[in-house]
Symmetry: C2
Subunit: 213 residues, 2 copies
């Protein structure tokens, strides 16, 4: 062995754990926790079922590991929203980062969607505490921008929800989007549309599009 006795992470351990998580992400994101089977995960990872359980104590443990790894990176784009930046740049930057995540990590988005659809039994508490704190924090920033007249007076929470909904839609409903559009890559057009939509939505001015005479 190479590593020390305390830090017991062999090369082969890292590789197999990674393969299991990769396979688990595939299966869980498509069928949810209850719909996924260990045999399927093992098969996709190229390991036998007992071998999978040698690296993870249970099906639940694989799922938990995936969720934990996900939550870390999932909120990073929102955390990067800078209170001292230019409002429009900050919000459009957030939209772009989230859209790129939907394009590059669609399975992670679907895994999250599945967990929420099931009622968030495992991450419900985190949603009501950690997530809520961060969203409230960023919402306050956005509210400040609105109060200063730098952007339109929109409800910040729903603005954030809308960014989640619009960007994750291109990951979660990818099959539907491509079925309707045909074969072409939806993301370039999606980005152009979302930039238009958010420039218009947050531009300072009267609350509605029907301009006053």
């Amino acid at each position: 062995m190479t590593g020390s006795a305390v830090e017991g992470t062999t090369r082969i351990q890292a590789r197999n754990r990674q393969a299991i998580l990769e396979a688990g992400l595939d299966v869980f994101s498509q069928h949810g926790f209850r719909g996924a089977t260990l045999d399927q995960i093992a098969g996709e990872a190229g390991l036998s079922k007992p071998n999978v359980l040698y690296y993870f104590a249970s099906k639940e443990a694989i799922y938990a590991a995936l969720l934990e790894r996900l939550l870390d990176t999932w909120l990073a784009p929102l955390a990067a929203l800078d209170p001292d930046g230019e409002p429009e740049d900050e919000i459009l930057g957030y939209v772009r980062r989230k859209l790129v995540m939907s394009r590059d990590y669609p399975r992670e988005s679907r895994l999250f969607a599945n967990e929420i659809l099931q009622g968030a039994p495992r991450i419900g508490e985190i949603l009501g505490t950690d997530l809520r704190v961060m969203v409230d924090d960023k919402a306050a920033v956005i509210r400040g921008w609105a109060a200063d007249g730098k952007i339109a007076d929109v409800e910040p929470h729903h603005l954030i929800f809308s960014i989640w909904a619009l960007t994750q839609h291109y990951a979660d409903y990818d099959v539907q989007v491509r079925a309707v559009l045909g074969g072409a890559d939806p993301f370039p057009q999606a980005e152009a549309f979302l930039v238009h939509l958010y420039r218009r939505t947050i531009a300072p001015g009267p609350p509605s599009g029907r301009e006053r005479t």
Copy 2:
């Protein structure tokens, strides 16, 4: 028996079939097809498992019946978009109708979401044919409005996607929305926000919010 020999739908048949579909909607919308179990559906419907299979040939048949019943009503709001109406009224009306459906039929929205997340194995073909035809049709209408300068020049397909994403988000991610917002009913604020967003997005004028000098 009361009904004729040909029209064999007893009162009790209608009641039990309805109870099974109701229970199936609950379970399938939460756990997806593979994650749902007949025992759970039977228990929730107040019937024994063999009795459930007396009314539906298989688990698959219950799921199929739900999907078929869903597809009929799911696209009705889009079909109601009137090419001869006032563009802003038509689009905002569509948004409102879809939002009401998310509020009143969240389980149906989640059932649909689950099917799409699984890769739409059962309705994939419909998406690429019937749905696509209808969306293309409505997209042409919207494109015409844009060409006439009645609304902004937005890509119509992505405009429709955005309406789906924003409205269904309040059904599919209801748990998350409520966890972040607290106990209050999100829908009144959601409607106000969406009306603002779409008024701004489709208002005629320059493509972006950064006004020219």
